[in-house]
């Protein structure tokens, strides 16, 4: 292991795969993404395996999770957004899986990669634009000129709205990747403190160790929270697309 706290974000090839000139090699990024997403998918499948009217524990867990996302969707994006529930539920579980599997020591956090989160944020952005024009037609442009704006403010407001609209995918991607990265760097830095102090002053090593234990709990919370934030913002944007401002 390297002492460099950024080493953990390094992608390396596991299986070389070139398709039509594209490098689609299986990497540690791919592997851990599939492990996390696979585990969560299995959990969901297991809980809905033999659904009973009176649920067992696994079924209850899956039900509570689905109901949580469903309520979130309904309250943030409205009743009509429920047809996007498969997408939104997958988005939340996918991000939660990728974020949380990154907490396993030695694993890789796919969502700490700006390219991955950027790709997902752009995907959400495209879907929102598509839905917006499909549902509202050209009225979707009203998003940039909120009703009740004085005409003399229009140039400024429209400019601001356009900027904030196109900043959405960037902020979405940055927020998630930065949070994941920062947390993992912090853990790594405190872990290296433990090792340094073990050499210099062993009893004192307990301090960063305990801090690291607390940070691990915090980071698991952040992992879930960031998945939640990404999802709820997607719902907010979908609300704009479905109902206007």
């Amino acid at each position: 292991m390297s002492a460099n706290p950024l080493h953990q974000f390094e992608i390396h090839k596991i299986y070389d795969l070139q398709v039509a000139g594209f490098d689609l090699s299986v990497t540690n990024h791919t592997m851990w993404l599939f492990i996390g997403v696979g585990l969560v998918s299995l959990l969901m499948l297991w809980g809905s395996r033999r659904a009973q009217l009176v649920p067992n524990r696994m079924q209850s867990f899956v039900e509570v999770t689905i109901d949580f996302i469903r309520t979130l969707t309904k309250e943030t994006a409205g009743e009509s957004a429920l047809r996007f529930l498969p997408f939104i539920a997958t988005l939340f579980l996918f991000l939660a899986a990728a974020n949380v599997i990154g907490m396993v020591p030695g694993s890789f956090t796919a969502t700490s990669q700006m390219l991955t989160t950027g790709f997902m944020a752009l995907g959400v952005f495209m879907i929102v634009i598509g839905v917006g024009f499909y549902v509202q037609g050209l009225k979707f442009f009203k998003l940039f000129y909120p009703e009740g704006t004085p005409w003399w403010l229009a140039p400024l407001i429209v400019l601001l709205e356009v900027i904030s609209f196109f900043a959405r995918p960037a902020t979405l991607a940055l927020r998630l990747a930065a949070n994941m990265m920062a947390g993992h760097i912090l853990l790594k830095v405190f872990a290296s403190f433990v090792i340094m102090l073990m050499v210099v002053l062993p009893p004192l090593a307990l301090v960063p160790l305990l801090i690291n234990v607390a940070l691990t709990g915090l980071e698991i919370g952040v992992a879930l929270l960031q998945a939640y934030i990404f999802t709820i913002l997607t719902c907010v944007y979908l609300h704009d697309a479905l109902h206007g401002h």
Binding site: E10, S25, H29, L33, S48, Q59, P86, T90, A110
Partner: protein, 176 residues
């Protein structure tokens, strides 16, 4: 390794390392697609169906409970009505019985009074008859005595004193 060399060369730029851009995007999309397929094909339909079924079941149970409660309230009302009726009937019977008893007592008292009156009248009559009889007999005897006295007066001359004495004696005889 070449990858390590590359990473070393771009030290600090790992986060924006575009070496595996296509791999990242492709596999992220594949993972997302697979998961969305699982969610849309199995998990969500099953869970949504079971949640709806449970909601339906709860709604039905609540409706049934409500109907049962109304039924119970109705039968309680009917029971209370019957109870009130029975109570009214009972008090009717009691008051009727009381009236009947009073009637009976009154009748019996009247009869007794009549009986007593009759007996008293009879006794009075008997007494009066006896009295009249006695008087009649007395009168008869007095008359007889008077005749005897007169006879004696006629047969033997007696002074007044002796006459009185004789009379008294006669009366005494009569009474005894």
């Amino acid at each position: 390794m070449a990858v390590d060399a590359h990473a070393a060369a771009t030290q600090g730029m790992d986060l924006f390392n575009t070496a595996f851009l296509h791999s990242q995007i492709f596999w992220t999309a594949v993972a997302f697609g697979l998961m969305m397929f699982i969610m849309a094909w199995k998990v969500l339909p099953v869970i949504t169906a079971i949640l709806d079924e449970r909601a339906e079941r709860i709604r039905n149970d609540l409706d049934t409970a409500d109907a049962k409660r109304q039924e119970a309230e109705l039968s309680l009302a009917a029971y209370e009505k019957k109870l009130a009726e029975a109570k009214g009937e009972a008090s009717d019977i009691v008051s009727e019985a009381r009236v009947e008893a009073k009637k009976l007592v009154d009748a019996r008292l009247g009869e007794l009074e009549d009986e007593l009156k009759r007996r008293r009248d009879e006794a009075t009559k008997a007494i009066e008859a006896t009295k009249a009889q006695a008087m009649k007999e007395l009168q008869g005897q007095v008359a007889e005595l008077a005749v005897q006295v007169t006879e004696k007066l006629l047969t033997e001359s007696v002074d007044a004193k002796k006459a009185e004495k004789l009379t008294n004696q006669a009366v005494k005889n009569l009474v005894n």
